[in-house]
Point group: C2
Chain length 234, copies 2
């Protein structure tokens, strides 16, 4: 991208991550953690492969992403955010939250990925007993599973946990409603939730009290009980 050539932090930020697709690539890396090229492609429907390649090269050159060559025998390179790149997390969250009011329901041409909806969960959920040992909760809904890492704060990523303490299997709107506190466990079960593992792990997370508006992007009709989830299955 052409630089703005303005000596201003915002202009420099846009020089760095203002290109088309760039922040969405960062979103995927925030959600997926270290990811392969094809993992990124899957999370970025619509991107042209040459653009993904170009953007990754630029991000690496700028120090926002690092490319890790894996073990010599087989395996493929992984892309991961640098520490600096990770610092974009609150900004990406805030931007998503800012635009959340427009997320009423998917437009006809809109692609949906369930892990995208997991991003606001970080904002919505709070660890009630931060001093205890970390707990992993796996959510299976739609495509690939999403893991909630509850360890003082709540982190969401798409890596499958080694040994999750609890596994929730349900359509997105049920999982969201349950985690947002709008459904009891029993009510969620009645709507198709299957829970494996330790139910008490669930009690550890609860919606943060800042939820009044922050729930809007998540709920706002789209994943309300009245409507089937628009997530395309796998």
């Amino acid at each position: 991208m052409r630089s703005y050539h303005q000596f201003c932090g915002l202009a420099k930020a846009l020089d760095l991550v203002g290109d088309r697709w760039t922040l969405l690539i960062v979103r995927e890396l925030l959600l997926q953690g270290p990811a392969r090229y094809s993992d990124l492609q899957r999370g970025l429907p619509g991107i042209a492969t040459n653009l993904l390649g170009t953007r990754l090269r630029e991000l690496v050159a700028r120090g926002i992403v690092e490319r890790r060559e894996s073990a010599p025998p087989v395996a493929t390179p992984l892309f991961a955010l640098t520490a600096w790149g990770e610092e974009l997390r609150p900004i990406v969250l805030a931007l998503g939250r800012w635009a959340g009011r427009t997320l009423i329901s998917p437009a006809p041409r809109d692609r949906v990925r369930s892990h995208w909806l997991a991003l606001p969960l970080e904002h919505l959920l709070v660890d009630r007993t931060p001093q205890r040992a970390p707990v992993h909760i796996e959510l299976r809904t739609g495509e690939r599973p999403v893991t909630l890492e509850v360890a003082g704060e709540v982190r969401v990523h798409t890596r499958r946990s080694e040994r999750p303490d609890a596994v929730l299997i349900a359509p997105p709107h049920v999982i969201i409603a349950l985690l947002a506190g709008r459904l009891t466990l029993a009510a969620a079960r009645a709507r198709g939730l299957r829970l494996e593992g330790d139910a008490s792990a669930l009690k550890r997370v609860r919606p943060s009290s800042t939820g009044r508006r922050s729930t809007v992007p998540v709920t706002s009709g789209t994943y309300g009980p009245a409507r089937p989830a628009p997530v395309r299955a796998r």
Copy 2:
């Protein structure tokens, strides 16, 4: 811009403000408050006139900016952020802060405007006595003046205050160093500061204690005492 067609808050945010120049226009409106077309042009060196027109139309259509036709006799239309647009303020600040580490010194082709540097001041400064009546401090440095509105929190804008409680006249690096607490008032005077009005108004603001890193974008050599300020004098 083409939509990403992704049902995700971040993607929708980028559909709304991800175009080239759009967030910089928001920056100007955050800093200037309601502004005329030509005021915006002045704060956006490098923008093509047709793009500014197009972007403003898009921002109005999207509900982020409103266009106010002024009084019938003469006067020109004003552009202002809507309440929703104002909510971008912390995001724009955070983005600028994120990229702050790259603001070592202006590149040869970089344009500089002193009011851009005022943006991080909002982040840096804190009102020590929030319960007292608001105080206005006018900063004159380089081009047009910038006003600090100290009223519980600190807001920066480029409107000239009606009756400022204090006026600081000095090159940018002296003003920044003074406000960042790196120069005493006496030392600043020795470096060319002129202070008019109520000196005690100055005591009311102080650098926030989160300054360890946040000062980097502001200081980091660029406006340090050793180097003349690169702001082009009007």
